[in-house]
């Protein structure tokens, strides 16, 4: 497994090996799936959407409907306008969505199709909508695609009617349905009136009832996206992923925003709860949340000896990685390597800031990095634990290091997308995974005479 990886690190500028990111359009698709009765539409050749649907279905174990302009060489030469017009007409007729969310690919971007002007010539049926976002694959990563599509919805739909709705907009960033359900539960407990956008819960965790619904019950309603413009403010989670949509809504509808980290870890969740309670005005943090928090702290103290001071490598999307890093620091673990494949100076700064708080000095932080480089670092100085996506499993196997799967994509496990890692309960789950992976390792690796029943 990865037997060819040499210890010696050679600086690379042009060659990416084992990426820790993928391209924008898959993010656009996932964002669009978080809107009720929305059909994601990829303007390009059909291979892209085939790959994107595949990776989404493999992560969520759910259908991920999406369509394509099905470019062939002709469209690539003469422009994709005709394909887009035909495609949109067919989608409205065959799949009957309420809204189509078009995103571009590196193909349509390179030939310079002007989606906005093509769309103007399309007759959209009454009560139906079209939005678009530019998502060139040669800029940024899937994280950019996610927020660009959020901006697409906001730019097309959100409006300020001058009648405030009294609600807070929650931009949860890129999360699994289980996380989104947890965020909503916390917001409900804190008495917040809100619109969450986007919201893949109820869509990418739809129940099996014996009939297939292309558009399950979940997702942010179109009316709610329009109404974002009348919100009091935005509570945005994940500073890397939510900044642009916040700016878009501010530019268009003058809605102010508050950006906080993903509520992964105790203090990050505290921050979310504090902000939510302040915004709802209930005056104090509900006792049930204090209890959940207390349970978490209790378990952290109970279990600390099994992970404290262990060295950990964390990789994945920037906001997720920063959240997980905060939590492992709270657990008394030592982040040794922290990387994201997405480019972002804010990531480096924010990671440095958090590490400084805990006085951790020798942690390597790198954005725009890849997993091959991470593997090389590990070969030179190993860690006790990996936390990240499925694509780290090769390193885990090669170096015999346990892996806790977190982030996107997790292709080789079940149920993970239902289980939150946000909020106090999410922390409890992360704690469970981290602790037990060490205990499992100990039981597996120890000699028979040392196998013990009790802790």
């Amino acid at each position: 497994m990865l037997d060819l990886t040499p210890n010696e690190c050679v600086e690379r500028e042009a060659l990416r090996i084992n990426p820790c990111k993928t391209c924008q359009p898959v993010g656009a698709v996932y964002a669009a799936l978080g809107v009720h009765r929305c059909m994601p539409y990829s303007h390009g050749s059909q291979g892209c959407i085939s790959y994107h649907r595949t990776v989404l279905s493999r992560h969520f174990k759910e259908p991920a409907p999406a369509v394509s302009s099905s470019f062939t060489e002709g469209a690539s030469v003469f422009g994709g306008g005709s394909n887009l017009k035909t495609g949109v007409k067919n989608v409205f007729e065959i799949y009957k969505p309420d809204i189509i969310a078009i995103h571009t690919t590196c193909l349509s971007e390179t030939i310079g199709d002007d989606i906005r002007s093509i769309i103007q010539d399309i007759e959209v049926p009454d009560g139906k909508y079209l939005v678009h976002a530019n998502t060139p694959s040669y800029v940024g990563s899937h994280v950019y695609g996610y927020y660009n599509m959020m901006c697409g919805f906001i730019n097309y739909l959100s409006e300020s009617t001058g009648v405030p709705n009294g609600k807070v907009a929650i931009f949860p960033g890129w999360m699994n349905p289980g996380d989104l359900v947890e965020i909503k539960r916390l917001a409900d407990i804190c008495g917040l009136k809100y619109i969450m956008f986007p919201d893949q819960s109820g869509v990418m965790d739809a129940p099996l009832l014996g009939t297939y619904e292309m558009y399950p019950e979940g997702g942010t309603r179109i009316s709610e996206i329009k109404d974002l413009g009348n919100c009091r403010c935005v509570l945005a989670l994940g500073e890397m992923i939510s900044a642009e949509p916040c700016f878009a809504l501010e530019r268009k509808c003058k809605v102010p925003h508050k950006m906080i980290p993903y509520p992964i870890g105790v203090e990050n969740t505290d921050e979310f709860v504090m902000q939510t309670v302040k915004l709802s005005g209930i005056g104090n943090v509900p006792v049930c949340l204090e209890n959940e928090r207390g349970q978490l702290i209790d378990m952290m103290i109970d279990s600390h000896q099994h992970y404290s001071q262990k060295k950990v490598a964390i990789y994945g999307d920037p906001d997720t990685v920063l959240g997980v890093m905060s939590f492992v620091l709270e657990l008394g673990m030592t982040p040794k390597y922290v990387i994201t494949g997405t480019f972002g100076e804010r990531f480096d700064h924010e990671a440095a800031r958090i590490l400084e708080v805990y006085g951790v000095k020798d942690c390597k932080v790198k954005s725009n990095a890849d997993l091959f480089e991470l593997h090389q670092w590990i070969k030179n100085e190993s860690v006790d634990l990996l936390i990240g996506t499925t694509y780290g499993k090769q390193i885990a196997k090669a170096e015999n290091i346990p892996l806790v799967r977190v982030g996107f994509p997790v292709l080789d496990r079940y149920v993970h997308s239902y289980m939150p890692i946000v909020g106090y309960r999410g922390c409890i789950r992360l704690l469970e995974m981290i602790t037990n992976v060490f205990l499992d390792e100990r039981d597996r690796e120890c000699e028979d005479k040392d196998l013990e029943i009790v802790l």
């Binding site: 990865l2 037997d3 060819l4 040499p6 050679v10 042009a14 060659l15 990416r16 090996i17 084992n18 990426p19 993928t22 391209c23 924008q24 539409y41 390009g44 050749s45 059909q46 291979g47 892209c48 085939s50 790959y51 649907r53 595949t54 990776v55 279905s57 493999r58 259908p63 999406a66 369509v67 394509s68 302009s69 099905s70 062939t72 060489e73 002709g74 469209a75 690539s76 035909t86 007409k89 067919n90 989608v91 065959i94 799949y95 193909l107 971007e109 390179t110 030939i111 694959s137 040669y138 800029v139 739809a206 099996l208 014996g210 297939y212 619904e213 494949g341 091959f372 694509y391 090769q394």
Partner: protein, 536 residues
């Protein structure tokens, strides 16, 4: 006999334009109608939820990706390389390390699109060779959509790198927009493999008399290993495999084999035919999916080589392997006989798996290919009548001549003629002749049509890929991925067929299916409310 013709029913909800396009892609099998013809390998309708991939997926993802001693670099933005990284479950082992465990990409950025990416590509090759201590046997470059558009000359970069490093370096212009599906990519990959790889080790000594290449076997879930095990048990040498667990080094010697065995003809019939022309190597259409199919393939191989000792050994192996699974067959038939299935997968599997299902008495009511050509449905004879269009004319078709030094034939002309009557020698009959009258053949079946088929036929199981697997299961219909086998396999050969059968039994009988409808949907829960209203 009254034929059920549900084509109109399947397509009823389309508007007339889409209906007109799609109706050519669906036919009802009718062995009495020799004129029935299907339309295939044409563009998908824009906006239709097709399951097809692209040219890059066929070239890098399917054909080149599995090569274990080659550094394959995807030149383009990061996505294409990322998605084709280990996602086909094509296994490989090499004690010296396997290159395809790594995903190599130039991760092209906006400035490269504006100013050209060829310098970055060259630099990426330099960096790869500087980074890895072990040299790959070859370097292959696959280009993606924007690279074709901005006109990077990847072939020039490859030629220069080859000259500089002395490692074979070849480029594949397999941009996603070329052709109408993955199929174009197979063709592009194979053309270069034919030109540059096969026969390039001219020093290689002739392989043994009973030696084969295994063509169109991608070792998904270890299928190729199982086939190799059976063949070697029979005393047949496997010179190379295209390309599951395949290596550049072995494919260079492929010309030394006596016979080519073709498993997935869709992806590789070009190579089989070109090797026949250039080296005189006959090819035999085989199918190691299914018990009867495997036996037939082994019998055909025995007939081809026509050596009583080899034939005896093959018969012994068949007998021995069958003995091992005899109880399984009885059990699996008892559990699966009479079930109905629909199958919709890539190149040739929809055909192969019908024969495996038949081993256990499962009836296939509808089947289709994702990226087939007409000959995959109707047989190789129809190739001269297939009309080319602009989309497939863009894929280069190469011709080869007999090699003056290496051309040789194994069979006498008389024996060749005799065998051609008996078996699919340099030929394949296609899927339709193997299907029952009244069943449906559907090319490039899309999501909407899958739903309609499910509604009309109510099959017990729907074999497909990941993109629609969960849709079927949401509807309460068991589905198994036949691209990747849902983490299972191998399904090839004797034991593999039973593995498949057991997987089906397990999938069809899990208790959860009976739990879909909750108790309160079957019984009244009204008791409490009567009391409240004081009715009782």
């Amino acid at each position: 006999m009254n034929m059920v013709i549900p084509r109109e029913e399947i397509l009823a909800k389309y508007d007339p334009r889409v209906f007109k396009n799609r109706k050519e892609h669906i036919i009802t099998v009718d062995s009495n109608d020799p004129n029935s013809q299907i339309t295939a390998n044409s563009r998908a309708v824009p906006g239709i939820m097709t399951h097809r991939g692209c040219c890059y997926a066929g070239c890098k993802g399917v054909v080149l990706g599995p090569l274990k001693d080659v550094l394959v670099i995807t030149h383009g933005p990061i996505g294409c390389g990322f998605y084709s990284w280990g996602t086909r479950r094509n296994k490989a082992y090499d004690p010296n390390g396997v290159w395809f465990q790594y995903c190599f990409s130039t991760d092209v950025q906006e400035p490269d699109i504006v100013f050209g990416g060829d310098k970055k590509l060259r630099k990426a090759i330099d960096e790869a060779l500087a980074t890895f201590k072990v040299r790959p046997k070859a370097i292959m470059i696959c280009s993606t959509c924007p690279i074709g558009l901005i006109g990077d000359d990847i072939h020039a970069v490859a030629a220069k790198a080859e000259a500089d490093y002395g490692i074979p370096c070849m480029a594949f212009s397999c941009e996603g927009y070329k052709g109408v599906s993955q199929s174009g990519g197979h063709h592009i990959a194979n053309n270069t493999i034919m030109r540059r790889v096969i026969g390039s080790n001219i020093e290689a000594p002739q392989a043994s008399r009973y030696s084969v290449n295994l063509l169109g076997e991608y070792n998904i879930g270890g299928d190729g290993w199982e086939v190799e095990r059976i063949l070697e048990r029979c005393g047949i040498e496997v010179v190379s495999i295209f390309t599951g667990d395949g290596s550049f080094e072995k494919i260079q010697k492929a010309h030394t084999a006596t016979l080519n065995l073709v498993q997935c003809h869709r992806s590789i019939n070009y190579i089989a035919e070109m090797m026949k022309t250039k080296y005189g190597i006959d090819w035999l259409k085989v199918n190691f999916i299914g018990i009867k199919s495997t036996i037939k393939s082994l019998h055909d191989i025995a007939d081809y080589f026509d050596d009583p000792v080899l034939t005896k050994r093959i018969e012994d192996v068949i007998e021995d392997e069958m003995e091992d699974i005899a109880d399984d067959i009885v059990y699996l038939r008892s559990m699966l006989e009479g079930k109905t299935a629909v199958i919709y997968v890539g190149g040739s599997r929809s055909h192969h798996y019908q024969l495996l299902m038949r081993d256990f008495g499962i009836k296939c009511v509808a089947a289709g290919y994702e990226f087939a050509h007409r000959d995959d449905y109707e047989g190789r004879d129809v190739i001269p009548t297939i009309k080319g269009d602009a989309d497939n004319k863009n894929i280069e078709s190469i011709t080869v001549k007999p090699d003056p030094d290496l051309y040789k034939t194994f069979l006498t002309e008389a024996r060749y003629k005799e065998l051609k009557e008996k078996m699919e020698l340099d030929d394949y009959a296609g899927m339709i002749p193997d299907m029952d009258n009244g069943s449906i053949v559907i090319d490039d079946m899309n999501e909407f049509e899958s739903e309609e088929i499910m509604r009309i036929f109510k099959p017990d199981m729907f074999f497909s890929g990941i993109k629609d697997k969960y849709m079927f299961e949401k509807s309460g219909v068991y589905s198994r991925q036949l691209h990747s086998y849902d983490y299972s396999g191998p399904y090839s050969g004797f034991a593999g067929a039973c593995k498949f059968g057991h997987d089906l039994v397990m999938g069809l009988t899990i208790p959860a299916w009976k739990l879909i409808v909750p108790k309160w949907k079957k019984e009244s829960v009204l008791e409490a409310s009567f009391e409240k209203k004081g009715v009782l």
